[in-house]
């Protein structure tokens, strides 16, 4: 739809101006070729064609600017990018089916085979990193438990517990 509007705005007004000029020129040419005097209604018509041509020419410039502005705005909103999203480390195999992205309310689990989706401006990309956060938490718990088993008689811990 916009393409038609754009074409009309871009070429229509200038085209109409040239059409008016051509009609005025044809009438002038016809009168010049004829031996008869120019009729008053003919000269009025020529004037009208010329005036309309000028109006169309004057309007064509600003309308072109408006068209360029609207076009850039619409183009920006319609811009689309295609993203390929996948996990890139084999060590993350455990997370298959647990880490996902959400697009248009649908959940797409991530794996090594890339998920190919088209995104527009303001489209939502939701990456579930909860699983990663949970893994880190588990690892920290593991470190803490292992550490407390290795260091059995820690003086700092003893001093801490003896407070109160």
């Amino acid at each position: 739809m916009f393409n038609y509007v754009e074409k009309i705005l871009n070429f229509g007004f200038l085209g109409l101006a040239f059409l008016m000029l051509y009609l005025a020129y044809s009438l002038i040419k016809k009168s010049a070729e004829s031996s008869e005097d120019v009729k008053p209604n003919e000269s009025e018509l020529i004037k009208k064609f010329m005036n309309i041509a000028i109006v169309f020419m004057i309007l064509a410039g600003p309308l072109q600017w408006v068209t360029i502005w609207i076009k850039s705005d619409v183009d920006e909103k319609d811009k689309k990018v295609t993203l390929n999203i996948a996990l890139n480390k084999t060590s993350w195999e455990d997370s298959f089916g647990k880490i996902y992205i959400r697009k248009d309310g649908e959940f797409h689990p991530l794996s090594f085979s890339a998920l190919n989706k088209e995104f527009k401006d303001n489209d939502e990309i939701l990456l579930n990193i909860q699983e990663i956060a949970d893994s880190i938490k588990k690892m920290r718990r593991q470190i803490e438990v292992l550490n407390s088993k290795v260091v059995t008689d820690d003086k700092s811990i003893r001093a801490t517990l003896e407070e109160g």
Partner: protein, 196 residues
């Protein structure tokens, strides 16, 4: 008249029991001090009488009797830590901290203990906040308490992989307050960093 007044005071003190000032400056019935010592022994893992459940039962009775008993809630927090009831430990420490603020108790060791409880519960942001409060008031702490505070703070950063900050606090614990246990964590960090 005076004799009646004197008699009523004597009778009152006999009925209520003698009050003394505990280590945190609160007035408590003298039997509380003895009972708390027993409860404390029961919650210490290296004590031969170790029985944290009994310790919790004893302290609960005391705080029921004296709802603003700072030392009671403090020890209750540490006792719950032994039974791994981290939420209850947190609630007890929160109550103790509330009493501390209300009654203007000057003790600052609680920040290390409450921070340690949060560390064990893996509530690292809370632990950091409490340790920082303790560090800000380090001048009021004993050397032994500061050694534990800074070593525990270093341990928190070690668990959260913030090695530079961990080294900073562990070094202070070792060099300024003579902590011997900080060295083990320092060695672990140096080993990890050498493998980068």
């Amino acid at each position: 008249m005076r004799a009646i007044l004197l008699l009523s005071i004597v009778a009152g003190s006999l009925l209520l029991g003698e009050t003394i000032q505990d280590k945190f400056g609160q007035h408590v019935v003298s039997s509380f001090e003895d009972d708390l010592q027993v409860a404390k022994k029961l919650r210490l893992p290296h004590s031969p009488e170790y029985n944290p459940q009994n310790s919790i039962g004893m302290i609960q009775k005391m705080v029921k009797e004296k709802p603003n008993y700072y030392r009671g809630y403090y020890n209750l927090g540490l006792a719950y830590l032994e039974t791994k009831e981290y939420e209850k430990s947190k609630a007890s420490f929160d109550k103790a901290l509330e009493i501390r603020n209300k009654e203007k108790i000057s003790d600052v060791t609680i920040f290390n203990s409450a921070g340690w409880s949060a560390l064990k519960a893996q509530d690292y942001p809370r632990a950091e906040k409490l340790f920082l409060q303790g560090v800000a008031l380090k001048e009021l702490n004993s050397k032994r308490s500061n050694a534990a505070l800074f070593a525990n703070f270093g341990l928190l950063y070690f668990y959260t992989q913030r090695f530079d900050e961990a080294l900073k606090y562990l070094t202070i614990a070792r060099d300024t307050y003579g902590s011997t246990s900080a060295q083990t964590t320092i060695d672990s960090i140096k080993e990890i960093q050498s493998k980068k």
